[in-house]
Symmetry: C2
Subunit: 631 residues, 2 copies
């Protein structure tokens, strides 16, 4: 970020359109431009020749210009392009950028200081399909519902402006401009502000590994991209080649921008395994340093959470031992381990999973693949994460990717029985990690979540439809393939808010609420001490007992029957008298149980009978334990 | 390496042609082959069908076959290819491989245990041009000369078989087969054995970042290469993609092979910045672990020394703080800093240097570029190496690359005056690091060292000639451009061993011998405590005083006048009475001095007058100091 006034922690962006008392200062890094002008189109047309500095930065000052003005940068050959650091694209990604006053919004979250990482219970939301409005305001409407559910943080899929009105967000191209369809900058600020007033943290999903294929004009300005690495989704970003310093700054300042101007509490960094940086200081390390420094300056707790396919603890290790210093990362291995146990799916990356031992390892050690051979990858994969805290792993039974890509749009509610869904939920809520739900999961939404786009360039639109069809149509064995470009694919992925009131959704919702409440109120569940977590299990028949400890010596026990028959499990050594707090087979949450576990466990060696695909949670009958943690 | 008999540290290669008491076992990893046979061409023609294992490994056993037998692997379509793990290519890289008995050589170096890293004084040799024979035997002949010079280690440019008879070695394709022109496996062993008997360590330069363009058949066997990264010299090696485990093993076992079968003491890993590995365990870290473990098993000291353009201390940091655990790396910044001061060259990467402060930083901190902006690279470069020992840096005033590529084949003897050469040598020998000479540098060889090849594929040969001409001819302003394919380019790069007996070569040789002797006999010069090294300097006029300390509190002082006029330097605080040990301007080593520094320095604030481009070395007049070190 650029200079800030003394005592003013809200630093301004160095680039973009910056308001001053006299007008607007335009500044853009454009080493590839010979000449550059600002073309103002609103409120009145004007052209301002920009001055080129030695470092490829062009500047111009528009005296008297106000917020709301629209402008583009014009190159020497007449090309007009949006501002790379545009705060708003009111007419889409190909058209004019708009001047925004970053200080105009009336924040009411002055007391908000963020949440400890440990306390995050995350709810992933796609803004466009979460509500019928498809806007940030639609999220605000559901805040009371989310509070009642018990989650503590919403994670918003990427909001950076993309082509058209329907997109997951990973095709964003104006990385500083909350999408206008969703409500733009003011709408996003209102949402964050409302969340904070309700005690909810906001995590924003950001994409720093590629840009979308339509409306990406960055390469016309400077060396934002490189051919040195072959990215999964088009050109890799130039984080380590010639001219990379301003590129790194562009992304690092973007991270600071959401923290500072939008008060977000955490960023979820999309697919960092597609960020190629062989330099001596990895851009993520530099970003983490700057982000945490800025959070301290703002007096808030703020976090960086990676999506990483590397199974590399360096991502979340502190710099002192060679890590990037990110705070946490998604724990895909947990998902895959549990998913294969429930669905029997062994396609794609699921082929590497299927043992209860995998799930036990995910719970107690972190990475399941920590150096062993992965058949799917055709090589050894990962390194041990035993030294990392459980709070450094976000666990989930579903997310946007897993539903749409791994399971052809089908949620767990379509793939597994109600009993299995409840069993999976019990395991999730008892995991020594940061749990996450995908919107609607809490009530077993019956609506699919499909991949959708709305590219406007015809050749691209056709290529996306065809490419997706070629890759995914074989998996749509019982339904028509949903064309990503079709509006219906988007509309059909919307949450149906009538469902939570109906059976069995209502029961599943109540069940999840109760588990979240138990987790939050029970210290030995609320901590993320995977080092104090022990798991015993059998592969055939399939059972698992998770013992969650805390420093006061109290234990909680989650007994799981992952088999198709009722089973009697024998409880090992234990710290004291335990009382049944929840049985996933009990009447309130489902059909009348055929088997009911005992109300208390008094001693070592007790037998507990569980119906097929059920879990029983036993909590200490005396004492509350301590909410210790390992950091 | 494969299994070894108990008590037998000489483990056998898992792949290749392995001798047993009954015959020869052939084993090759060839997942891309449908069928594979061993075609034996000598002593008698025979074809053996190989058996395919589940892991893409093919095996066959040839009963009664002896060492010396020649063979190729034949694919299902009739293609015949050399063994990827061939120990010998007697007829070149396109022809048959030869069975070698790794235990047949009669080693006489049983007492040799290697040298401490600290003690390495390195002499870089290109086998083909070091002697008129161009062989390992030609090196053996010069061992008495090298001993007298005082160096402790020879570093042999790559010996892996390449196409034709003339090559620097970086186009090697049979990575386990010492080139037949040089003397093959037995010749190389004889050379190592002779070096060890003479107390010289052997460092072998190995190339693990690419293979040469002619005779590289590896991709026909398996996924050795990847398109994911764009390498500088052709396809990058697949260290992190599908099928990469056996590829990693191929290179790691190669490192162990030289250590075990050839008794080499260290490997110089060529250009590790072209080794692309995004996996959780970098192949160099895995290699360092295996190499050091094997050295311990063999009861020897052995080292891995990287050439790295990354200025990244992780390369040489221990794994505990996130490093790869290599022992040392080349210190290019030292070279560039001193080279620009002497030659005034500011082309290419030299544009980033030119200040005495750069040289001072190289001596006391390591990397000059440790996070600052490099104009040449167009970005910030590197990270600080202040925490690394001086022994982790190999310093040099010349090497094969710098002479041939940076200076159009010209050595420092053509680029700088004799006085400047002696000044540069004095700085090199007083550096708190591991010093290295390029063959002939010690006597200021007048012969050039040019780039040469002998590709036999016509299109490739022409492309190499033309490519080189396009890139380098502009720098040959005063001479004809030496075509790399021309035999004369190779012949002309040979050392002229008549020179060391002639003036001024004889004087320069004596001067270097004396400095090496002083370095070895003076504890405060012999250590590599850059943390106990202090440098004061002035940029205009150019002077520098290097103070080398040891733990006993004694200092040596090297006073340098890097300017074109005589200068009087004032000595700062000092530990005791110092005596002039060497003055680069003194009569014995050059013209009659116009200025002579005082024979002793008695106290702080003494004045020392130095002629243009000279250095004076003062050593403690009393006491010997201690040969302490920081590890």
């Amino acid at each position: 970020m650029g200079q800030s006034a003394p005592g003013d922690p809200v630093q301004r962006l160095e680039f973009g359109a910056s308001l001053t008392s006299q007008g607007v200062l335009f500044r853009v890094w454009a080493p590839r431009a010979k000449e550059l002008s600002v073309c103002i189109s609103s409120p009145e047309a004007a052209i301002l020749r920009m001055e080129r500095g030695a470092d490829g930065c062009f500047t111009a000052f528009a005296r008297g210009l106000d917020p709301g003005a629209e402008y583009m940068y014009q190159f020497e050959d007449g090309r007009r392009r949006p501002d790379p650091v545009s705060r708003c694209q009111p007419r889409g990604v190909h058209e004019a950028s708009q001047v925004v006053d970053p200080l105009a919004f009336g924040w009411t979250d002055g007391d908000w200081r963020g949440l400890p990482l440990q306390d995050l219970i995350i709810y992933e939301i796609h803004t466009g399909t979460f509500s019928s409005e498809g806007t940030f305001a639609g999220i605000v409407e559901r805040i009371p519902y989310l509070r009642e559910l018990g989650i503590t943080a919403v994670e918003i899929m990427p909001v950076a402006s993309f082509a058209g009105g329907r997109n997951w967000g990973y095709d964003g191209v104006a990385l500083y401009a909350p999408h206008t369809c969703y409500g733009g900058p003011a709408g996003f600020k209102r949402m964050v502000d409302a969340c904070h007033r309700a005690g909810l943290a906001v995590i924003l999903d950001v994409v720093y590994n590629h840009l979308g294929p339509e409306g990406n004009y960055l390469a016309e300005y400077g060396p934002y991209f490189t051919d040195r690495y072959r990215g999964a989704w088009g050109q890799a970003i130039n984080f380590d080649g010639a001219g990379s310093d301003p590129v790194r700054r562009f992304f690092i300042e973007n991270a600071l921008y959401w923290l500072t101007e939008y008060h977000v509490d955490a960023l979820r960094l999309d697919a960092i395994h597609e960020i190629f940086d062989f330099g001596a200081v990895h851009v993520l390390r530099e970003m983490a340093d700057a982000f945490h420094r800025q959070a301290r300056l703002l007096g808030r707790e703020a976090w960086l959470i990676a999506e990483s396919d590397l199974n590399d603890p360096r991502v979340i290790n502190p710099p002192a031992i060679g890590g990037h210093g990110l705070d946490a990362q998604w724990h895909d291995d947990f998902h895959h381990a549990l998913h294969t146990l429930l669905t029997g799916d062994h396609n794609g990356y699921f082929m590497d999973f299927g043992r209860i031992g995998d799930l036990a390892k995910a719970l107690t050690q972190g990475f399941v693949y920590d150096g062993g051979r992965s058949e799917y990858r055709g090589r050894r994969h990962g390194a041990p994460s035993t030294g990392n805290s459980g709070r450094q792993f976000v666990v989930f039974n579903q997310n946007h990717d897993q539903i749409a890509n791994a399971d052809a749009g089908r949620r767990l509610s379509q793939l597994a029985s109600l009993a299995q869904q409840k069993l999976a939920a019990a395991i999730l809520w008892c995991a020594p990690a940061l749990p996450m739900l995908f919107m609607g999961e809490e009530f077993g939404a019956s609506t699919p979540f499909n991949y959708f786009t709305s590219f406007t360039e015809r050749a691209l639109a056709e290529a996306v439809s065809e490419g997706r069809r070629r890759e995914y149509e074989p998996f749509f064995t019982d339904r028509a393939f949903p064309d990503p470009q079709a509006a219906q694919t988007f509309v059909g992925s919307r949450i149906d808010w009538a469902e939570p009131a109906r059976t069995p959704h209502r029961e599943l919702l109540a069940f999840n609420r109760r588990l979240i409440e138990l987790r939050k109120s029970t210290p030995c569940l609320a901590n993320s001490r995977k080092d104090l977590t022990q798991v015993s299990f059998g592969e055939e028949p399939r059972w698992m007992i998770v013992r969650r400890g805390d420093l006061s010596g109290l234990d909680a026990l989650l007994l799981c029957n992952l088999s198709e028959k009722s089973l009697t499990l024998t409880v090992g050594e234990q710290s004291g008298r335990l009382a049944l707090a929840l049985y996933t087979g009990e009447e309130t949450f489902g059909p009348t149980p055929s088997v009911m576990p005992p109300a208390t466990i008094e001693k070592t060696g007790a037998s507990v009978e569980l119906a097929s695909f059920t879990a029983a949670l036993y909590l200490p009958a005396t004492g509350k334990g301590t909410a210790d943690d390992d950091r």
